[in-house]
């Protein structure tokens, strides 16, 4: 992480002047920035994946598991790409520009991009690919993020998106993993069961919940990338089995290392741990409509009675950073650097309890490890640290099965995780604004809602930063979610693999583009 504040992401001006952005981007080779050694072609990358289910499907609207998401980025391209340094660069689009109010976006497509099947990408493909998630009867998990699009039209190699409200971050949305560009069929739909794409590797065979094999796409347009001949993704649910497979050389890379034993894995010869902190965070949301959480002092008391450092040290085994009760990570563009880090302070917790007119407090927290790895232990540690200020937390163990439908957003005090969103606006409007489908605390704050809307279409970078800083302050002080920690993505790989100097932090597996950006050392 070279810088915590500005300068990493593109300024609004460079986003708007998309073509100029490519000019500069080309000079510094955005994929793979200054490399340690000259990459070489060849070899089969074998990846051990922790999450993959026999119920995974090829339909982009259902992608959810780690397996689906990595496979998506290995076999597909998107209109835009988040580079390893966190900036947004064009991928299948060559450039984009917006109308002055940021409601109409014109994407100019790269010409001559070949699918694995040999077809060449057209504007119709883009329209079909995005339309797959739109409409009244959409069953796509991405329906909410494309809900703002009111119309998509084609004009030669230009695709014009019309939005219902201005959104300066719209090109970021087009990098979402649900939105790959795939061939359109004659009737303007896409083949939801198909495997064709225009990414670096073509799917040769795939068996849900077991694994897949992909081979290099010879006609891939992106220069200096996709060094492997083939990629094998192998689903290995069991932590011990996965780490064993890496140590015994059956796989070259594992996407998830067990945090309880990662220090032991680190000692194995020829193994390197890859730990990046990005936007993934764990939280404990409270229903702000339900007593006693409707009292802001009660929420504050709970926020002061959690020992964040202890959680990072034990639950994450040190692989993470402290959270400050708002969802914006330290590596993000508008991260509030002026906000004081909240510490464990039983005295202040007691003060807030008294402000709320309470001597002591008894609350239930409903947790399961489905919420995040180590959620149960987090609950127990929280109960322990909160006891010092007269708060009795009763940890209720819920089943993992059905956690997201029966406990989360149903019980008043639960656990949650967010892999995070690349922009502050996206994160806030997904889970914090009034009426957002995943507003897990049912929080409604007038000033905050107003700021989200105004910052979304704000043109002035400084004004925008100021607004996002204030939003983080509001969420941290008045919001309903305790966010004690940002969890690093911890994977491991054999030292036969070489990786670029800069590893993307926006997602696991080098921004899910390990197959495109890494190579075998010689």
């Amino acid at each position: 992480m070279n810088s915590l504040t500005g300068s990493r992401g593109p300024s609004r001006r460079t986003v708007l002047q998309g073509s100029a952005a490519i000019g500069t981007a080309a000079l510094i080779t955005p994929w793979g920035t200054p490399l340690r050694a000259e990459p070489v072609r060849g070899g089969t990358l074998r990846v051990g994946m922790a999450h993959g289910s026999t119920t995974d499907s090829m339909d982009p609207g259902t992608w959810d598991s780690g397996f689906s998401i990595l496979q998506a980025h290995t076999s597909n391209n998107y209109l835009s790409e988040i580079a390893a340094d966190g900036s947004l660069i064009p991928e299948l689009a060559e450039s984009w520009e917006a109308s002055a109010d940021a409601t109409t976006w014109t994407f100019t497509l790269r010409s001559g991009v070949q699918y694995h099947s040999g077809h060449v990408m057209t504007a119709e493909d883009v329209i079909a690919s995005i339309n797959h998630h739109r409409g009244e009867d959409s069953t796509s998990a991405a329906a909410p993020i494309v809900a703002d699009i009111t119309d998509i039209t084609a004009d030669g190699m230009n695709v014009i998106f019309t939005l219902s409200a201005g959104n300066a971050d719209f090109p970021f949305v087009m990098s979402d993993y649900h939105l790959p560009i795939v061939p359109a069929q004659a009737d303007g739909s896409i083949d939801a069961a198909g495997t064709d794409g225009c990414g670096p590797y073509a799917i040769e065979e795939v068996e849900s919940g077991v694994g897949s094999r992909l081979v290099r796409h010879d006609g891939y347009w992106k220069p200096n990338s996709a060094w492997f001949d083939a990629v094998e993704l192998i689903v290995i649910h069991d932590n011990a089995a996965r780490q064993n497979a890496l140590v015994s050389g059956e796989v070259d890379y594992i996407d998830t290392a067990d945090l309880n034993t990662v220090h032991l894995l680190e000692r194995a010869p020829g193994i390197e741990i890859l730990s990046v902190t990005g936007t993934q965070h764990y939280g404990l949301p409270m229903d702000t409509r339900a007593a006693p959480f409707d009292d802001i002092n009660v929420r504050m008391a709970l926020k002061f009675s959690i020992d964040r450092q202890q959680l990072v040290d034990t639950i994450l085994n040190g692989h993470g950073t402290l959270g400050n009760d708002h969802p914006i990570g330290p590596g993000q563009r508008f991260f509030n650097t002026e906000l004081e880090q909240r510490e464990y302070d039983p005295d202040r917790a007691q003060f807030h309890l008294r402000e709320a007119g309470l001597e002591s407090l008894d609350v239930d927290i409903h947790l399961a490890d489905a919420a995040f790895a180590g959620a149960m232990d987090t609950g127990v540690l929280f109960a322990e640290s909160a006891a010092a200020s007269g708060i009795n937390i009763n940890v209720v163990r819920e089943p993992n099965d059905g956690y997201w439908s029966n406990v989360w957003m149903q019980e008043p005090f639960v656990g949650t995780y967010w892999s995070g969103r690349p922009t502050a606006d996206w994160m806030f409007s997904t889970a914090y604004t009034d009426g957002a489908p995943w507003n897990e605390t049912y929080w409604s704050h007038e000033r905050f809602n107003m700021l989200v809307t105004s910052a979304r279409s704000e043109l002035d970078e400084d004004l925008r930063r100021e607004q996002y800083f204030e939003m983080q302050q509001i969420v941290s002080d008045e919001g309903g979610t305790i966010i004690p920690m940002f969890a690093a993505y911890v994977g491991a790989h054999s030292d036969t693999l070489a990786r670029p100097e800069q590893i993307a932090t926006n997602w696991r597996n080098d921004g899910q583009r390990i197959a495109e950006r890494w190579w075998f050392a010689t």
Binding site: S53, T54, D64, T139, G209, G211, A241, N244, W404, W438
Partner: protein, 318 residues
């Protein structure tokens, strides 16, 4: 002999009724689980609109009995339906995995059954000797450990850095027989260790039970060698209980090995069942339960037929 055919026909008919009841119970059980397919598959990303649209699309809004009867009619026509999750035909999904599960079960049985029978016979022959005690103790020890622990121990000693066997049993495409036996040796050995004790101790007990009988006494008095007494005279009469225990363990090898599948990354039916239940993918869950139930019915039937055939008094009934 005709009464044996009668018995088989009768038992098969009863088996069909059992399958029907099992499918009903599994269906009701899946319905009782909180949440439905639309919610579970969308998980944290579910919104009320997408859940409603998905339910509508898949016909999950129909009342329970209509969905069950619809499924049942399809099955009677020989169509197991399609997975709700990815639209693949359930027969295909199960077919691929069933082949894997059966091969592993067969492999494990091919080691475990001869091993436990001979150990049982030897233990009966040398009962209360040092050998008997060691065989018993080690068989009971291995059955007392949870399967995953046995698996980890085997991986630790026999796989991993420098070990002769691979820790992952998964393979791509059609491996040669030798390759298959090599890659799946550790899971087969794990299963062997788990099922041996039961069969071995039953063999030993059944034989020892007979050793006090007068006709064994007679054989001994004739001066027959102890091994021959056991093999020729005791074993044939002890077969019925042994066959039953073997059948029970074979059924277990088919239906109960999900933990071993997970540890050794072996794509069998168990993991498919677990994934489908957690996503409430009803057609797949139903399909697999039918396979599992059928395995129990058929193996029990086989055991009964073989037990009957091993008993002359039952074959030549007057």
């Amino acid at each position: 002999m005709s009464h044996i055919w009668m018995m088989i026909a009768q038992r098969l008919a009863l088996g069909l009724v059992t399958l029907l009841v099992v499918s009903l119970i599994i269906f009701l059980g899946t319905e009782l689980l909180p949440g439905d397919f639309a919610q579970e598959i969308l998980g944290q990303a579910a919104t009320p609109e997408t859940v409603a649209a998905l339910r509508e699309q898949l016909g999950l809004n129909d009342p329970m009995h209509i969905r069950y009867v619809g499924w049942l009619t399809d099955v009677l026509r020989g169509d197991l339906g399609e997975s709700l999750a990815n639209g693949q035909s359930v027969a295909d999904l199960i077919g691929r995995r069933l082949g894997n599960t059966l091969s592993l079960a067969l492999y494990a049985a091919a080691i475990a059954v001869p091993l436990s029978l001979s150990l049982g016979i030897l233990a009966a022959l040398f009962r209360n000797s040092f050998f008997d005690r060691v065989a018993n103790a080690s068989a009971l020890t291995s059955i007392s450990f949870p399967e995953f622990f046995v698996a980890y121990i085997l991986i630790f000693w026999l796989a991993g850095a420098g070990g002769p066997f691979p820790s992952m049993a998964n393979f791509r495409g059609d491996p040669s027989l030798g390759d298959f036996l090599y890659r799946t040796f550790l899971p087969a050995l794990t299963l062997t260790l788990v099922v041996t004790a039961h069969m071995m101790r039953m063999t030993r007990a059944a034989i020892i039970n007979l050793l006090a009988s007068p006709y064994i006494e007679m054989a001994r008095l004739k001066g027959m060698k102890p091994m021959r007494v056991i093999i020729r005279h005791a074993l044939p009469n002890a077969l019925a209980p042994i066959i039953n225990v073997v059948a029970l363990n074979l059924a277990y090898l088919i239906t109960g090995v999900v933990v071993v599948e997970v540890v050794f990354v072996y794509p069998g039916l168990g993991q498919l069942m677990v994934d489908s239940v957690s996503a409430r993918d009803m057609p797949v869950v139903q399909g697999i339960s039918l396979v599992f139930a059928a395995a129990f019915v058929l193996l029990n039937l086989t055991a009964d037929v073989l037990a009957t055939l091993s008993n002359p008094r039952l074959i030549h009934r007057r």
